[in-house]
């Protein structure tokens, strides 16, 4: 659907070269929600803007639906842009136009006849849940409502692709949640391919099928969201998903640890109870769960548990070996006060 090949973008400021995007190639498949994450200045927006050529790459090629956008005339490019919606962190609605007129503009721009515009706008505003606000001006709307208007505008010409540049970054968590479910709905019901830029892993976890992690203009990791969350490879990726897979165990609790502290990561199937009770039966150990958390990434569970396993050292070690066999990943975080003392 979208193919970026060996794309580089250089900016020159005061005779100094600044590489915003550095030889990036990636493919976004039809119907998927693709995420691009990275810290500020990583080149995310620049990369996204190649897809509708708001930004022209210094070198490389941009293909959408098999068409090389760089070869298009201005007129053809405008036509193509009508099939690529875009929404932004700042909404960018026209302040002097009503909600209705803001959405109608996109239709006018595409040359839709006046008599068809009204019905289409009403229908679009229904999709985003703003049917009763069409006469209001943007200044009379909340942030979430403004983003809904801009989503309606971006969907006006039945696009095949929707580009979202930090679409939820200016919104509170509840509103973010509702916009994300709207995007999800758009992807599933209308089959629109969505590319989202974000610095919040929550967004990726919520809606993305695959994602790319960017640093200094390069894609440092790319994979399915589940793989990224369950087996991050790049240090930056690890940092991003830290609050999903890592916990700080409070000092007080650490002091109460009797045996070995282990972290168990379960993927896909959450047979925690069974595994733990089997372990207790098979070995003479006590297990105390200090922390547990299950994340659902596209309905696939990813569970993380922290357990204090105590007993005879030999038994504990055997129990941990047993866990290794049955759990996706086992990490001994703390060898435990007893064993430290013995060692």
């Amino acid at each position: 659907m979208i193919e970026l090949r060996e794309i580089t973008k250089e900016y020159w400021s005061k005779k100094e070269k600044n590489i915003a995007v550095d030889n990036v190639s990636l493919t976004v498949n039809e119907g998927e929600v693709f995420g691009i994450v990275g810290y500020s200045g990583a080149g995310k927006s620049t990369l996204l803007r190649f897809i509708n050529l708001l930004e022209r790459p210094t070198t490389g090629s941009v293909r959408v639906d098999g068409i090389d956008l760089l070869t298009l005339s201005n007129k053809e490019l405008r036509k193509t842009r009508q099939s690529i919606g875009m929404i932004f962190q700042g909404f960018y609605l026209v302040a002097s136009k009503t909600v209705f007129e803001n959405v109608a503009f996109a239709l006018l721009a595409a040359g839709v006849q006046k008599k068809h515009i009204r019905d289409k706008v009403v229908q679009l505003l229904e999709v985003v849940g703003l049917s009763d606000q069409l006469a209001k001006y943007p200044s009379q709307l909340s942030g979430g409502q403004k983003q809904r208007v801009s989503i309606a505008r971006s969907l006006a010409n039945d696009p095949k692709i929707l580009l979202c540049d930090e679409a939820t970054s200016a919104l509170d968590p509840n509103t973010t949640e509702s916009i994300l479910s709207l995007l999800k709905e758009i992807n599933q019901k209308l089959g629109i391919t969505i590319v989202v830029i974000t610095h919040e892993m929550e967004v990726v976890k919520e809606i993305c099928h695959r994602c790319a992690v960017m640093r200094e203009g390069k894609v440092v990791e790319l994979g399915t969201t589940f793989d990224i969350f369950s087996a991050p490879k790049d240090p930056l990726t690890k940092k991003f998903i830290q609050n999903v897979l890592e916990f700080e165990i409070p000092e007080l609790m650490m002091n109460r640890v009797k045996g070995k502290l282990v972290k168990l990561i379960f993927l896909r199937d959450l047979a925690t109870d069974a595994v733990v009770s089997d372990m207790i039966q098979a070995f003479e150990v006590r297990a105390n769960i200090l922390h547990g958390k299950v994340e659902y990434i596209h309905e696939t569970p990813l569970g993380v548990f922290i357990m204090d396993i105590s007993g005879e050292e030999d038994q504990v070690n055997q129990a941990i070996d047993y866990l290794h066999k049955r759990v996706h990943k086992v990490e001994v975080i703390e060898d435990g006060p007893t064993y430290r003392a013995l060692a």
């Binding site: 708001l54 193509t80 009508q82 136009k97 503009f105 006018l108 001006y137 010409n157």
Partner: protein
């Protein structure tokens, strides 16, 4: 008081002449200055019709005209006025140089009020696939409307001032009246009356401008 009544017909005529001069110049400022101002804006770097050469050429011409003091421009343009109208006397003749001064003045105001538009709004419009003309007509013009009206107010008030200068070299109008009676004949009554008339006119224009500009502002 008697003196005033005696002067009334002449005052009336002068007032109408001033309105004619300002009105004509303002119309040209709007009809030519507005497109020029928009042109200056859209040909700027990174904008919808980016064009360094057009931008520079238009910018230089505008700056050239704006750097000539009005009184000099007035004299300088006499041949042009005479060529266009066959005379250099009267309010119509004065309108030529007033228009030439007002067009670049208003164009710069239009340009700077267009600059106030959030670049993101224009970009969002580009992303919908709108043509430059669509963006100008449906985004730039509505978004700058309050600024365009304020600009007309400012231009009108400057033109009232300039029209007094134009009056001195045969343009007629209130300025001409004030100079003829006040300066050459030391007639205080006429002086004061013309000053009051000008003050009232300026206040009225300002008030109307503010009122309309606020009424169309949706922010």
């Amino acid at each position: 008081m008697d003196r005033l009544i005696e002067l009334l017909p002449e005052l009336n005529l002068a007032f109408v002449e001033t309105l004619v001069m300002v009105g004509i110049a303002l119309s040209f400022a709007f009809l030519i200055g507005l497109p020029l101002g928009i042109l200056l804006f859209v040909t700027d770097q990174g904008l919808i019709l980016e064009n360094k050469w057009v931008k520079q050429a238009v910018g230089i011409v505008i700056n050239l005209i704006r750097s000539v003091p009005f009184i000099i421009l007035l004299v300088f343009l006499l041949p042009l006025t005479s060529f266009l109208l066959g005379t250099t006397i009267g309010p119509l003749a004065a309108s030529v140089s007033l228009s030439v001064a007002a067009i670049p003045f208003y164009a710069r105001i239009v340009e700077s009020s267009a600059r106030e538009i959030n670049k993101g709004v224009i970009e969002a419009a580009v992303a919908t696939g709108a043509s430059p003309w669509m963006i100008i007509r449906h985004i730039l013009l509505p978004e700058t409307k309050p600024g365009l009206i304020t600009g007309i107010t400012i231009t009108a008030i400057s033109l009232i001032g300039y029209s007094a200068m134009a009056g001195t070299i045969g343009g007629g109008g209130i300025g001409d009246l004030a100079i003829r009676y006040g300066y050459y004949r030391y007639d205080d009554t006429v002086m004061f009356t013309t000053v009051i008339l000008l003050v009232v006119l300026v206040q009225f224009v300002q008030y109307m401008g503010d009122f309309v500009s606020k009424a169309v502002d949706k922010k």
